[in-house]
Structures are given as structure tokens and as C-alpha cells.
């Protein structure tokens, strides 16, 4: 046993910190069945030995009502700057009793196990406690691999007991949880499957035994229902997993190219699902009714199918349900009356609303999971420990990845030195280059927009608003989409070229700059097209919605063709050239950013077109489906994984946000503008004859007025939808809420900063204390016997004082001793298999020691300022040292006597306590007398009182230690 407690001293790492707890193999968790468990345990674990007694002493001496009076007083005196989260106001129990209970239970803990903790189980167990379980169980798991034979012999029983105890506690904590929470909590336990099963069955057994008496029909029923739903959920989830589209393909891609490339394919799949959903919505609510009632389109006699329609979407297609014009404004009379106007309007509206909903949800989700506060500083650590992709299973890919990582590490090493050396002139040069290229890129985008504008006007003048076009006329319509797609293909190449000349400090910034420029380009082109449609086309054609729908159809088709061409030229030819003609070029990378932007653009087209051509998602589905296989083949044949893996998850978040913000919001506003402000064509479509699309609702309301029960709908329409006040109020409320959340997040940010600072401080304190401790331990090494060491310390102390050496080191010494003692004590306890909350008490021991250190530092300042008064201080000391000496002597006596009689030492200890208190008071008074006249401006508590407090802490630790033994 002795060797064990010494082991702690010889191993410096052992003393290290709160994270020690991982290694505390015999550490225990306490029965945290009290909702205030954490506080209470902290209280008991750390200060109970010192302060609790102290408090009760005060109570007995001064008749103070509050049991913690002394403690709090002490706080005010010396430790204002220590966060006092440790103190809990625990009603009912006096700490003293508590303590006694504990010490008695320590003595017989080996023989009997006392499972029932007092008080009801906690009603709310939060994530905090879950984490604690995990911490504990982790510690427990880590016990086994490095078990030292020295401990194995005597602890087997203790460990067994402890584990049972822990398990029981765990089970008890799990019982009151709801089923879902419980399952989650069990899933999160870092245990083996067997143990989890065991615990689960125990929890269930416990639960059923508790409930068996009060089991009524109702609870049974509800239980069954909830079980049924849960099973359904599981079944759906598991089938989704097994039947998921392209499961194997995804695995293959992930294995060969890693997560970042996989994210492109996941995005593609997500968009595909999204389009399938929108197709189903549109098809079932708009198209099916029309098809049912008018199976054949009412095409004019001279229009036939010529083949070119597949590209242009004009001609024969013009009269089908593909476009807006194919629908009528009639109310279809069947089993029920089906109002086409309303259904068209509401389907589009609801679809758009659902899109907003889905996009916002997925964007915020992805933001929540992947947003990290700017962590560029931790790049190296991240690269080393978190960047390895465990999915990758392909041998070549693994080799390549290793290479890439090596290159990246080397680069980051050189970058570090490089970025510091940048001079002002170099910076200015870089800035000039950025500016130049940005201007150039924006100019290019604007030029593209302008050329599209003029092209559209030119085309406008050549076409006529006739029922059918000649073949040549039809072919001419292809010019605009061709030029647009060409621009989308070629201009980004220039952008990539620009990117090569610029020096970006980080890869991510480079990618974002590229993406931003491409977004500008596409937005400007789309903006010009939309302007053209809204302002020119809508005035010229008799059935202008259909014309717009056709243009969009052409754009979608050409975009698809250029995607194919792009992957052929960009990837296949580039691969051929790179491998045969110019080996220096090498195999092309898969450019995730460009590819994702292409997808986003394609999706935007389909959103804009949803009003003009409700079945556009069908084309989109086909397009994405083919694209998936095409890209997969092209990827595996031609490409290599990107050399610089950015943080894929963050990129994905950025892309979803991009999809939402400029692109979806843009198309939403275009559709909204069309519906609110533009006059629908008078010749065709569901809204012919109306001023604008939205007046459909007004017409509906008029109809509803005749129906008696619909007053409330009309009321809502009049008072809410059509009233400005409502929108005004909503806007104000949203702004206020936003502002509040913004403020809250600001506050949190500050708090995070403070907490980080605290961690750093604590680390510094710890290393400082460790150094001191090691210095102090060197002379003590020779003392093998622990008891001897104790007495030696006692005898050594007065010498230190009398020598008048640097009293700061005295205080330090005290503090360290106090800490040492606590730790020894704790180790001893734990070797006996007694439940000591080691994780908590060790950190609280640390706090204690830190407090002492702070005091010591304050004192040091003091000394440097007024060194001439040194003598009087040490006189204050003398009292206390005497007392301590005496108590030390007594304690060593009590040390041997204590185990027989547990009640007896309490009285002797309390008498010592009393003496110490008196001595302290005297010392303080003396101090005040000494200091107050001499330095009225000096308001800090005197140094000697600080010293005494440190000693007291130590003393009490000692008392407690002996008492508990």
C-alpha cells in the first residue's frame, strides 16, 4: 500500500490535472442521485474536510445560524477572484453529519454494499451526467490493459464491488428517462455490446418491477402504441439504409476518392431526391387532373412532331401539359369539382414554401453541425489527427492520400515561415493583383450579361408570335441557350486561370474566391435573361408564359449537353493529354467546387421554371440520373482525388447556403414577381382573364362568401393577408427576435473567451505547482515510510519559519502540502475501495492549491513593498506555528488512536480547530493594528493572514485525513 501511494509521487504525470481522472484506476463516482449531485460532490470531495468542519466549528463557537458562515466570510476576505461555483446551499443536512456518515460507511464498505441512496432519483438528467457516465466508464475500461501486478492482489474485490456499484448507479439513472432518451444514452456508453445489453435488461427489469403494481390498461395501451411507432421508425430507417439508392456506388467512391468527392455525389443525390419530390407534387396535383379529363392535347392541325422539339421544346410540345399554356382555367367536374386555377396556384405556392422549409432546415442543420469558430490556427493538429479518411480503402488512393498529406504538411511548415516574412511592398503587390483580377472577373461577368441582353433583343426582332414556326425559325431559338451554356463553360476556365496568378494564404480562401466569381457570372446571366422574359417577352407574345417555359426548357437541355461536353473535354481529353502528350500536367483533379456550382445552376433553372413549365422537374430527374453515372465513370477513369482536401463538411455547408441564398431566393422572387405583378396571358393558361395570378385568391374569396360556414377564412384573408399592418407587425417582431438572438450569441462569445482564458490560467497554475512540488519532493525522496514523512514535515516547518527565509515559499509549501495530503488521502481511500469522487475531489484539491497559490502571490507583492515590517509579521506567524506544531503532535497521536474509535477524534480535532481559529483571529487583529496606521491606502488583506489561511487549509486537510482514517 505504501509503495502505491508513493508511486503517485514519483510519477509527475500522476499529479497532472483534471484529466488525471482517466487514469485513476480506482477512482469512483459517487452516487449522484441528487439533482445537485455535481455541486454536492464537489463540496464533499474537496472542501468537506476543511471547510465543512470549519463551518460547523464557527457554528458552535459563535452561534452563527448559517453553517457556512465561516466559509463565506473567508471568501470575502481572501478569495474574491475565485469562482465560487463550488458552494451549494444544501438544505437539511449539516455537512458534519454528512461527513460522519461517510466515514462510517467507508469502514464497512468492503463487507457490505449500500445501494440505496437517499432521496428520489433525479427528474432531469441532462447531457452533463451522460458525459460523466462516459468519463467513468472510459476510465473503467482503461483499467484493464495496463494493470500492474502490484495492485492486482488486493483490489480484485474492491474493483468488483465498485463496478457493481457503478453499474447500479448507472441503471438507476437510466430508469427515469424516457424510452428514447434511454436508448440514446445506452447507445452512447463506451462499453462493449455485451455490457450494454446487460445494463439495458437490468433497466427494463427494474422498470417493470417498479411498475408492475400500477400497471393499468391505459399505460399498457400507450406503451404498446409507442412501441409500435418506434418499431415502425426503426423499420423505416433500416430499410432506408439497405435500400438506399446507390449504396454500393457511394461506398466505392468514398473508398477511392475520399469524403470530399463523396460529398459532391451526396449533394447530387440529394438534389435528385428533391426533384423527384417536386415532380410528384406537381404531377399529381396539376397534371393528373388535366390528363384525366382531357387525355389528348388540343394541338392545332398543322403542328406535328418533328424531332427538333426534343431540343427546342417548341412546336408540338407547346400545346402539351409540359407548359403553362397546356392547362385550362376550367373547373373540372367529376366526382368532385376540381378548380384548376386554385390547384395550380396553391400547388406552386405550397411547393415553394416547402422548398424554403427544406432548404432552411438543411442549411441550418449543416451549419449547426459543421460551423466552427474560425479555427485556422489548429490546422496542423487537425491535419495530423482528424484528417485521415477512414473510408478510403483503395490501395492507390491510400498511397496518394499519404503523399498529399506529406506535401500539405511540408507546405504548411514552409508557409509558416513564409507568411511572416511578407514585406509591405509584397503585400501591396498582392493586393493590386487581387484588385485587378477581381475587376477583370466582374467585368467579364458584366460583359457576358450585356452580350446576352443584346442577343436576346436581336432574337426578339426576328421571331414572330405565330402559331407554328418553320424549322429554321425553331432552330434559331437555340442560339441563346447555346451561347449561355458556352459562356458558363468557358468563362470559369478563365477564372481558374486567374486563380493561378493570385497568391492566397489558404486553400479555402482560394476556392471561395473562385466560387464567388462563378456565382457572379451565373447570376448576371440569369438576371439578364429574367429581365428579358419579364419585360419584353411578357408584352409581346399572346401566350408568353409558354414561351418563357420553352426558353427554360432549352436552357436545361443545353446545360445538360454542356455538362456532358465539359466532362468529356475537361476530364477525358485532359486525362489523355496529361498522360500521353504532356506528362507534366498529370491526371486532372476532380474539381468539386466547379461541379457543385454546375449542379446549383441546373437546380436554379428548374426552380425558375416551375411556374412556367410545371413538369420541368421530370427533365431534371432524368438529367441528374444520367449525370450521376456519367460523373462516376468519368471520375474513376479520368480523375484523381483532389490534392488539397479542404474541409469538405464546411464546403458542403457553404454550398447549401449558396443554393439557398442567391439562387433559390432569386428564383423565388422571380416567381413571386410573376404571380403578383405581371398580367397573365389572355389566350391560354389557367389564369387567362385575370389581372394577375394572385387575384385567383380574391375570386375564390368571393365564391366563399356565399358559403355560410366560411366567414373565418374571409376574415383571415381580409385582415391578415391583405393588411399591411399584419406584415408590419410580423417584420418588427422578427427583427426584435433576431436582435435578441444576436445579442445572446455575442454574450456567449464573450463567455467562451473568458472560459478559454480560464483554462489557460489553470494550465499555467498546474505546471507551476508541479514544478514546485517536484522541487520540494527531491529532499523527501529518501523517506520511504509515509508516516515518517508526515512527522518530518511537521518538524520541518517551524524551521522554515524561524529561519525567516522567503515566506512566500512557506506559503507555497503549505499549499502544496495541503494538496499532497489531499491526494494521498484520496489514494488511500481508493485503495480501500471506498467511494471517493476522485475526479471531482482532485480538481477541487487543485482549486484549493490554486487559491493558496494566489494568496501566496498576493503576499509576495506585499513583502516586496514593505519588507521592513517583516518582523512583526513573523510574530503573527509564531502563534500559529505553535498551534500547528501542537496540533501536529496531537494528530500524530490521534493518528494511531483514531481507527479504534471514530467518535473520539472529532472532539480532539475540534479543540485543535478552536485553537487554530483563535490563533488566526489574534494574528489578524495584530496584523490590522500593524498595517492600518502605517499604510492607510493599503487595503489588501494582510499577507500574514493569507499565509495563515493557507496553513489552515493544510491543517484542516491534515485533521480530516487523520479523522477519516
Amino acid at each position: 500500500m505504501t509503495s502505491y501511494s508513493h508511486g503517485g509521487f514519483h510519477n509527475p504525470a500522476y499529479h497532472d490535472s483534471e484529466t488525471l481522472e482517466i487514469d485513476r484506476r480506482y477512482s469512483r463516482k459517487t452516487d449522484h442521485t441528487n439533482p445537485y449531485a455535481r455541486e454536492e460532490v464537489a463540496w464533499r470531495g474537496s472542501n468537506n474536510r476543511t471547510v465543512a468542519e470549519h463551518g460547523s466549528m464557527i457554528q458552535t463557537v459563535s452561534g452563527n445560524d448559517s453553517p457556512y458562515g465561516g466559509w463565506q466570510e473567508e471568501n470575502r476576505r481572501g478569495r474574491e477572484n475565485i469562482p465560487m461555483g463550488l458552494i451549494s446551499t444544501q438544505p437539511g443536512r449539516t455537512p458534519w453529519q454528512n461527513d460522519l456518515n461517510r466515514s462510517t460507511s467507508y469502514s464497512n464498505i468492503d463487507s457490505q454494499y449500500n445501494p440505496s441512496p437517499p432521496g428520489p432519483p433525479p427528474s432531469s438528467i441532462t447531457g452533463k451526467s451522460t458525459i460523466r457516465w462516459r468519463g467513468n466508464t472510459m476510465r473503467r475500461m482503461s483499467m484493464f490493459p495496463n494493470t500492474d501486478p502490484a495492485y492486482a492482489a488486493f483490489t480484485e474485490n474492491a474493483i468488483k464491488n465498485e463496478m457493481e456499484n457503478e453499474e447500479q448507479n448507472l441503471v438507476k439513472e437510466l430508469v427515469p428517462l424516457s424510452t428514447r432518451e434511454r436508448i440514446q444514452a445506452i447507445q452512447e456508453l463506451p462499453m462493449s455490446f455485451e455490457e450494454k445489453k446487460h445494463i439495458r435488461s437490468q433497466v427494463l427489469a427494474f422498470k417493470s418491477s417498479n411498475q408492475s403494481r400500477q400497471c393499468t390498461c391505459f399505460t399498457d395501451c400507450s406503451e404498446n402504441v409507442s412501441l409500435f411507432f418506434r418499431r415502425c421508425g426503426y423499420a423505416i430507417r433500416s430499410t432506408k439504409q439497405t435500400l438506399g439508392l446507390w449504396q454500393g456506388t457511394m461506398k466505392e467512391i468514398g473508398g477511392k476518392f475520399g469524403t470530399s468527392v463523396l460529398s459532391y455525389f451526396l449533394f447530387l443525390k440529394w438534389l435528385l431526391m428533391f426533384n423527384i419530390f417536386s415532380f410528384l407534387v406537381n404531377f399529381s396535383f396539376i397534371t393528373i387532373p388535366v390528363l384525366v379529363f382531357e387525355p389528348s392535347p388540343n394541338t392545332p392541325a398543322n403542328v406535328t412532331f418533328r424531332g427538333l422539339e426534343l431540343l427546342t421544346g417548341a412546336g408540338y410540345f407547346r400545346y402539351t401539359v409540359m407548359y403553362y399554356g397546356g392547362y385550362s382555367n376550367e373547373t373540372l367536374h367529376g366526382l368532385v369539382d376540381y378548380d384548376m386555377q386554385l390547384s395550380y396556384f396553391f400547388t406552386i405556392a405550397v411547393y415553394m414554401a416547402l422548398c424554403v422549409f427544406v432548404l432552411v432546415i438543411s442549411a441550418t442543420n449543416s451549419f449547426k453541425n459543421n460551423y466552427t469558430p474560425e479555427a485556422s490556427a489548429s490546422n496542423g493538429a487537425w491535419q495530423l489527427l482528424c484528417s485521415w479518411d477512414f473510408r478510403v480503402t483503395n490501395e492507390r488512393a491510400v498511397r496518394q492520400r499519404k503523399n498529399n498529406l506529406r506535401v500539405q504538411l511540408k507546405e504548411s511548415l514552409s508557409e509558416n515561415s513564409y507568411s511572416e516574412q511578407l514585406t509591405l511592398s509584397v503585400r501591396l503587390k498582392h493586393f493590386g493583383i487581387y484588385l485587378g483580377f477581381w475587376l477583370l472577373s466582374i467585368g467579364l461577368a458584366a460583359g457576358c450579361g450585356a452580350s446576352i441582353f443584346f442577343l436576346c433583343r436581336y432574337e426578339e426582332q426576328r421571331t414572330t408570335d405565330s402559331v407554328s414556326w418553320t424549322l429554321a425559325q425553331e432552330a434559331e431559338t437555340l442560339v441563346v441557350p447555346f451561347v449561355v451554356s458556352l459562356m458558363n463553360l468557358v468563362v470559369p476556365l478563365f477564372y481558374s486561370l486567374f486563380n493561378k496568378f493570385e497568391h492566397y494564404s489558404s486553400q479555402r480562401r482560394k476556392v471561395y474566391a473562385l466560387v464567388l466569381r462563378n456565382v457572379f457570372l451565373r447570376l448576371s446571366i440569369l438576371g439578364v435573361l429574367c429581365y428579358h422574359w419579364m419585360n419584353v417577352v411578357s408584352k409581346k407574345y399572346s401566350c408568353w408564359e409558354t414561351i418563357v417555359g420553352q426558353s427554360l426548357y432549352r436552357l436545361v437541355i443545353f446545360d445538360f449537353m454542356f455538362l456532358l461536353l465539359g466532362s468529356f473535354f475537361g476530364e477525358f481529353l485532359r486525362n489523355v493529354i496529361g498522360t500521353t502528350l504532356l506528362p507534366s500536367l498529370g491526371v486532372p483533379d476532380f474539381d468539386i467546387a466547379r461541379n457543385v456550382l454546375e449542379l446549383i445552376y441546373a437546380q436554379t433553372l428548374s426552380w425558375v421554371g416551375i411556374y412556367f413549365s410545371p413538369l420541368l422537374p421530370a427533365i431534371q430527374i432524368l438529367k441528374f440520373f444520367i449525370l450521376f453515372y456519367l460523373k462516376k465513370v468519368s471520375l474513376t477513369r479520368n480523375c484523381q482525388p483532389p490534392q488539397r482536401t479542404g474541409r469538405a463538411a464546411q464546403m458542403q455547408t457553404a454550398f447549401i447556403c449558396l443554393l439557398f441564398f442567391p439562387f433559390f431566393v432569386g428564383s423565388l422572387s422571380i416567381v413571386g414577381y410573376t404571380a403578383w405583378s405581371l398580367t397573365p396571358s389572355t389566350q391560354c393558361g389557367p389564369f387567362k382573364g385575370l389581372n394577375n395570378t394572385f387575384s385567383v385568391v380574391a375570386v375564390w374569396m368571393e365564391e366563399l362568401e356565399e358559403i355560410p360556414g366560411a366567414d373565418w377564412v374571409i376574415w383571415i384573408y381580409q385582415r391578415v393577408i391583405r393588411s399591411e399592418v399584419f406584415y408590419f407587425l410580423i417584420t418588427i417582431i422578427i427583427i426584435i427576435i433576431t436582435y435578441m438572438f444576436w445579442q445572446i450569441s455575442q454574450g456567449r462569445k464573450e463567455l467562451i473567451g473568458i472560459l478559454k482564458q480560464q483554462i489557460v490560467n489553470e494550465g499555467k497554475d498546474k505546471s507551476f505547482l508541479l514544478d514546485k512540488l517536484q522541487n520540494l519532493q527531491k529532499p523527501n525522496r529518501s523517506n520511504k515510510r509515509h508516516k515518517q514523512m508526515n512527522t518530518e514535515k511537521h518538524s520541518k516547518r517551524p524551521e522554515d519559519h524561524s529561519s525567516g527565509g522567503p515566506s512566500k515559499s512557506n506559503a507555497m509549501f503549505q499549499a502544496l502540502l495541503a494538496r499532497q495530503q489531499l491526494e494521498e488521502e484520496e489514494e488511500r481511500r481508493s485503495t480501500d475501495g471506498v467511494p471517493v469522487p476522485s475526479d471531482i475531489s482532485s480538481s477541487s484539491a487543485l482549486t484549493l492549491a490554486m487559491m493558496a497559490r494566489q494568496r501566496a502571490e498576493g503576499q509576495e507583492e506585499h513583502f516586496t513593498r514593505v519588507s521592513d515590517q517583516h518582523f512583526s509579521q513573523s510574530s503573527g506567524f509564531a502563534h500559529v506555528t505553535q498551534v500547528t506544531q501542537r496540533s501536529g503532535g496531537q494528530l500524530t497521536d490521534g493518528y494511531y488512536g483514531a481507527p479504534e474509535d471514530l467518535d473520539h477524534p472529532t472532539s480532539s480535532v475540534s479543540s485543535i480547530m478552536m485553537q487554530v481559529m483563535q490563533a488566526r483571529q489574534r494574528a489578524e487583529e495584530e496584523d490590522r493594528r500593524q498595517w492600518a496606521p502605517a499604510h492607510p491606502q493599503n487595503q489588501a488583506p494582510s499577507g500574514s493572514s493569507a499565509l495563515i489561511q493557507a496553513m489552515l487549509a493544510r491543517q484542516q486537510a491534515q485533521n480530516e485525513f487523520d479523522d477519516g482514517y
Binding site: I22, N146, S192, Y234, A381, C386, L405
Partner: protein, 179 residues
């Protein structure tokens, strides 16, 4: 009250597909060792050498460490239960904390519950095919410790590691092996 049955079906529904595919894989590794029927012969373990030859692990630079950290005896012998543990931690559904705990174990070569410089060096060498010069390895390790070590003890404790993980959202998706 059919409680037994409830437990049974519940379990099955959660784990059915996962379990079957896993057991098929486990069986496939050593058809002559692993029984299909677990009623009589519950105690069988596969050695490390067999398990690291799975295509999912074969090319992984940490394959030995992964298997060792999940085996009870620390030598890499896995029973079927441990095998299930391994792939459930590495699956999509495992929570972040669980993944972090096991990732920490994997990187902790000397099982002292700290990632010290030696551990990091080993990791780095596995990740870069030992092609960096010793000075570079030193530099990278020092930099890593400097960046991630919050409490200044010159090695990474679990809380340091966890803190780093929370700032690396990719980790959840990359610490993942599809079976």
C-alpha cells in the same frame, strides 16, 4: 407481460440488418473457426491477422491499432461481440463522443491515456509513409501539441483531443467505415 418478447423484437429490429451483414462478414473471415450457431460455442475469437485483412481495413494505416483498441485483451483478438462493437462505433449512427473516445484510443499507442509526442510521431509516420525527415516530424508534432494542448502539459489529454474534434466537423464523416 410479454416483456421478454418486447425486448427481443426491439433488439432484432434495431440490429437485424446490421447484425446479419456483420455476422456474414465475420463468418467469411474464418469459415472453419466461426460457427453459424451460437448456442453451443459462444466463445470464439479471431486473431488480429485475419481481421486486418478485411478489405475495409486492409489499406488503413491504423488497422492494427483499430483492432487492438476494440479487443478486450489488447492483443487484437476479437470475439464477435467486439467485432460488432468495432463496426458500430465506426458506423454512421455512432454519436460523436463515442467516436472521439475510440479515436483517442486508437491514436494512443502506449495506452497511457495521453497522446504524447511519441504517439504523434508514430501517427505521423503511418500517415506519411515515413518520408518526412526527423526534423520535420519533430516540427509537425511540436506544432500539433502547441495548437491543441490547452493546459500546457505538453501532451494531449482526452479533453484536449475532444476539444479539437469539436472544431473539426469533418471528423464525424471521416471516422467512418462502411460495411
Amino acid at each position: 407481460m410479454g416483456n421478454k418478447q418486447t425486448i427481443f423484437t426491439d433488439e432484432i429490429i434495431i440490429l437485424l440488418s446490421f447484425f446479419f451483414s456483420l455476422h456474414a462478414r465475420y463468418h467469411e473471415l474464418a469459415p472453419h473457426l466461426v460457427p453459424m450457431d451460437y448456442t453451443n460455442e459462444p466463445d470464439c475469437k479471431l486473431p488480429l491477422a485475419l481481421i486486418v485483412n478485411m478489405p475495409e481495413l486492409k489499406e488503413n494505416p491504423f488497422r492494427n491499432r483499430i483492432v487492438e483498441s476494440f479487443s478486450e485483451d489488447g492483443m487484437g483478438n476479437l470475439s464477435f461481440n467486439e467485432f460488432v462493437d468495432m463496426f458500430s462505433v465506426l458506423s454512421e449512427m455512432a454519436p460523436r463522443e463515442l467516436k472521439a473516445i475510440y479515436a483517442f484510443k486508437i491514436y494512443d499507442y502506449n495506452v497511457d491515456n495521453y497522446l504524447c509526442k511519441e504517439d504523434l510521431k508514430k501517427t505521423l509516420n503511418k500517415l506519411t509513409k515515413e518520408e518526412l525527415t526527423p526534423e520535420e516530424v519533430d516540427l509537425v508534432c511540436d506544432k500539433t501539441i502547441e495548437e491543441a494542448d490547452l493546459d500546457g502539459d505538453n501532451k494531449l489529454s482526452y479533453s484536449d483531443f475532444e476539444n479539437m474534434i469539436t472544431r473539426a466537423p469533418d471528423f464525424l464523416s471521416t471516422f467512418h467505415i462502411r460495411i
